[in-house]
């Protein structure tokens, strides 16, 4: 989950090359989907718990990774319960939770600049006309933007509450979009000012 940020540390997972982490994540997700068996899922969840332990992360971090998707998980669980049975609903939901936690483990232990370097390495053989640096920077900016947008969302929500507007989506979204677009302009200008490319 990209909403989860890097958590500084010096564990083996923090030190592992981003490309390896991404490859392991890909293998992990593929294995969970290809081998649809509860034993495999149990092993997957165990591995994730081990990964969080190695990285020095707490259960709270694992929960933070899943929390933004809670509503979706509840809907999927209910749909599976209705269409299949309790065992299938639990299996599908737990598998999704394992995937979310695995993806978060990668972002928790990888710096944005390491991702940038990794993306640049992946693009090293791409055609020359492709703006590799810009692509890598744009992707790494996601790490910077998400907490910023989250803070701005909270500020707008607080301001609307202070005005007595509790449940208006428009009152929340309109000022947020304006602020985000303004910030985007200013960040673009700052990037231009700070780099020579």
């Amino acid at each position: 989950m990209l909403s989860d940020l890097y958590i500084p540390g010096a564990s083996a997972l923090h030190r592992m090359r981003p490309a390896w982490k991404l490859a392991l994540l890909f293998l992990y997700c593929t294995a969970l989907f290809v081998v649809s068996h509860s034993l495999m899922l149990g092993l997957g969840l165990l591995l994730i718990a081990l990964g969080y332990g190695i990285a020095g992360l707490r259960p709270r971090h694992a929960f933070d990774a899943v929390r933004p998707a809670l509503y979706v998980l509840v809907i999927i669980f209910a749909a599976q319960l209705w269409l299949e049975d309790l065992a299938m609903a639990a299996f599908v939901t737990l598998r999704l939770i394992a995937l979310l936690m695995a993806a978060a483990l990668v972002t928790y232990t990888t710096k944005a600049s390491e991702f940038t370097d990794g993306i640049l390495a992946l693009l090293s053989r791409a055609p020359k006309w492709l703006p590799k640096d810009k692509i890598a920077l744009a992707i790494s900016l996601v790490w910077r933007f998400i907490p910023m947008i989250r803070d701005q969302f909270e500020e707008v929500r607080e301001a609307q509450r202070a005005r007595g507007i509790e449940r208006s989506l428009l009152a929340l979204v309109a000022p947020l979009v304006v602020r985000v677009l303004k910030s985007a302009d200013e960040i673009a200008e700052a990037i231009e000012a700070r780099s020579l490319d």
Partner: protein, 223 residues
């Protein structure tokens, strides 16, 4: 730096008209009301804004102003690009094609100079306003600019952080140009430019320009 008959127009609107200046002082303040053109003026220094006509030059710098001029923005949140302090400081250096060892040395040096070495591994969005402003400044200083321009850098700072910023500014070896509404801060500068209506309305020492500007603002406020 020399501005020679510099004009900036946007569409049919003239933002700056015929600005000619020779800037040699170490601390230059820029004041003016909102919409007077002072931010556009500041953006001319490092090429964020190109003049529509006229020239800007500095001896020995060639055409590449950006390599020589650092820019500190009003809101550090919009200046900090990477989520971790150390990564952000490295950002401006990577485009200068420096070696990893050189980048590391410069980062260590600037963190030490600004006494913010403890922030090295911190996430930028978790810093206080004052810490963010210091990190934004460090991101500029690490590129070792010959001149630094500041766009209202103390607007979002509380008093202790503003005082820290003033101490840091006094210790900077580079010349600095600063747009600010903080007239008290600018009283210690060498030269003040009052921009109004896109032109340099007044140019002189703080004691010559600032009281007159204050009186003018008061007169306008009272209608």
């Amino acid at each position: 730096m020399i501005f020679d008959r510099v004009c900036v127009t946007k569409g049919s609107r003239r933002i700056l008209s015929e600005i000619s200046l020779s800037l040699t002082e170490k601390r230059i303040g820029v004041i003016g009301e909102n919409g007077s053109g002072k931010s556009t003026f500041l953006r001319l220094f490092n090429g964020l804004q190109k003049p529509t006509s006229g020239t800007i030059r500095a001896e020995g710098w060639g055409d590449d102003l950006r390599r020589h001029v650092g820019f500190v923005f009003q809101n550090p949140d919009n200046q900090i690009v990477y989520p971790m302090v150390e990564e952000d400081l490295a950002f401006g250096l990577k485009s200068r094609k420096l070696s990893k060892a050189e980048i590391q040395t410069r980062i260590d040096e600037v963190l030490e100079t600004l006494s913010i070495a403890h922030l090295r591994a911190r996430l930028t969005h978790q810093l206080s306003g004052g810490e963010k402003q210091m990190v934004a400044l460090a991101g500029v200083l690490v590129t070792r600019p010959d001149l630094i321009v500041f766009d209202e850098p103390t607007t979002l700072l509380d008093l202790p952080n503003k005082l820290r910023f003033m101490d840091m500014l006094a210790a900077l070896p580079q010349p600095a140009v600063m747009v600010s509404h903080d007239l008290e801060l600018l009283m210690g500068f060498d030269r003040i430019l009052h921009i109004e209506g896109g032109t340099v309305f007044a140019d002189g020492t703080p004691s010559e320009v600032i009281p007159a500007y204050r009186d003018r603002c008061l007169a306008r406020a009272k209608g």
